[in-house]
């Protein structure tokens, strides 16, 4: 009797894992990413003749926690029509019983990869402001992302910024139709392995339901989220993640001579957003974005009380052109005076 090689077994296993797209308008192209809840595939929408991304649950069946959560993620995304949020095109159940949804296929890079080529701080801050726009829009529609991190932001080939992976999104009460899944405290992590395995269990929740676990990326999760205090989560929890994201953008892969020049104002913005006590953080994403915009425009930021020296330095940076022009004029004038006197 002949035995199958490991390689052949792996190929057979991957063949059976592939979703059955029979009866749908999609044709499978390749696997893009894999996560705790589902796998993302690139597929061709044969009707519209365009490429889409299919997020497919790994297990069959449309009943249960995971299928409901995937459908909920699709519904959350469908509600959030914004240029900074990946649009959903379709959702349903495949012939093999697996739940899926189709979304825009984003051709581009993850933010952490993209910024390696973007050395300038203002460029990074402008990217950050566009992320804030998308998150603020979601908050205005009663949705918290709860998993903001560089790996969950994509930069498209035309520079478009898209906030991805809304699998952990929380729908706030009073804004949308109550979601039975929000009643329990369990959270199932849905992020794909784009984060390269950095997502790890943070803490188990024993409160209220006693099942489920919190998963996230240490350093980007707010302390209350890491403690599993689901009922305390609000916009300030995402603001904490945005603060961590901003700190990452300002420090990661910056040339050494730039990273040491990180402005105190920017540090203060990060510090305020990432304050351990949520009362000390910005109360809204717009407030944080306004501070970053003020910094970009050479104005004083609300998060930092600057010293006289810092004020002068900031004003010099803002009006550098005028200062240099006047200095050039004065040099010329002094030379002229000396010339005429002799």
């Amino acid at each position: 009797m002949r035995h199958l090689s490991d390689k052949a077994l792996t190929r057979l296993r991957s063949g059976t894992e592939l979703p059955d797209l029979g009866g749908t308008r999609y044709r499978l192209i390749s696997q893009v990413a894999r996560g705790g809840m589902g796998v993302v595939y690139a597929a061709e929408d044969e009707c519209l003749q365009r490429r889409v991304a299919l997020k497919v649950l790994e297990i069959s069946g449309s009943e249960g926690d995971l299928p409901n959560r995937l459908m909920r993620e699709a519904r959350v995304l469908a509600r959030l029509e914004h240029p900074g949020i990946v649009p959903v095109h379709d959702a349903g159940t495949l012939a093999d019983g697996r739940v899926f949804y189709a979304m825009k296929f984003v051709e581009g890079q993850r933010l952490d990869q993209y910024i390696e080529s973007q050395a300038s701080t203002p460029d990074r801050l402008r990217i950050f402001l566009r992320i804030c726009d998308a998150v603020a829009f979601a908050h205005a529609h009663g949705v918290l992302h709860r998993d903001l991190k560089p790996a969950n932001v994509m930069v498209g080939s035309f520079g478009e910024i898209l906030v991805m992976d809304w699998g952990l999104a929380k729908i706030l009460a009073d804004v949308l139709k109550p979601d039975p899944l929000e009643d329990d405290a369990s959270i199932v992590h849905s992020s794909t392995d784009r984060e390269n395995g950095t997502a790890i269990p943070a803490t188990a929740i024993s409160a209220s339901t006693g099942h489920g676990s919190v998963l996230g990326t240490p350093g980007y999760m707010s302390p209350e989220q890491a403690r599993g205090e689901i009922e305390l989560l609000d916009a300030r929890s995402d603001i904490y993640s945005l603060g961590a994201l901003l700190r990452y953008l300002l420090s990661e892969k910056l040339p050494a001579h730039l990273s040491t020049l990180l402005d105190r104002s920017l540090e203060a913005i990060c510090g305020k957003a990432c304050a351990p006590a949520r009362e000390a953080r910005y109360s809204a994403v717009q407030e944080m974005a306004a501070d970053v915009s003020r910094y970009l425009n050479g104005l004083a930021v609300g998060a930092h009380r600057e010293s006289i020296f810092e004020k002068v330095t900031r004003l010099y940076r803002r009006y550098r052109f005028f200062v240099l022009l006047i200095a050039a004029y004065l040099v010329m004038r002094i030379l002229l005076i000396l010339l005429l006197k002799h």
Binding site: F321, F322, L325, I326, A328, Y329, L330, M332, R333, L336, I337, L340, K341
Partner: protein
């Protein structure tokens, strides 16, 4: 900052500085205040003219040339009225015009379209 305001401010600052350098000429030190005021007004006029020009013509060389011409004309007028210090008045005055002409072309924003009613 729009181009007109930029020209106005820069012209005033450079004009005042220009007038202030009269302190280095002991023979006219007694008339310092009058010189500074006159020079500031001269800078203001050159700045406004350069600002208006920059709003109508978008060309750095032409802006520099226009500023230089206005600065020269104004300074020449002042020197002609005094019948003295031609070089000391005309040369810096022309350079003020040149700088303001350059600055209003290179920096400052164009006014936006008027709101439709």
């Amino acid at each position: 900052m729009n181009k007109l305001l930029l020209g106005l401010l820069l012209g005033a600052v450079l004009g005042a500085l220009d007038g202030g350098t009269a302190w280095f000429y002991p023979e006219v030190r007694a008339q310092m205040v009058g010189i500074i005021v006159g020079s500031t007004i001269k800078g203001l006029i050159a700045g406004v003219a350069a600002g208006i020009f920059a709003r109508k013509v978008n060309s750095v060389p032409l802006g520099i040339l226009f500023g230089l011409a206005v600065g020269f004309a104004l300074a020449f007028l002042v020197a002609y009225l005094q019948h003295d210090h031609y070089v000391a008045i005309i040369l810096p005055g022309s350079i003020v015009g040149l700088l303001v002409g350059y600055a209003t072309q290179q920096y400052g924003v164009m006014p936006g379209p008027a709101n439709a009613r």
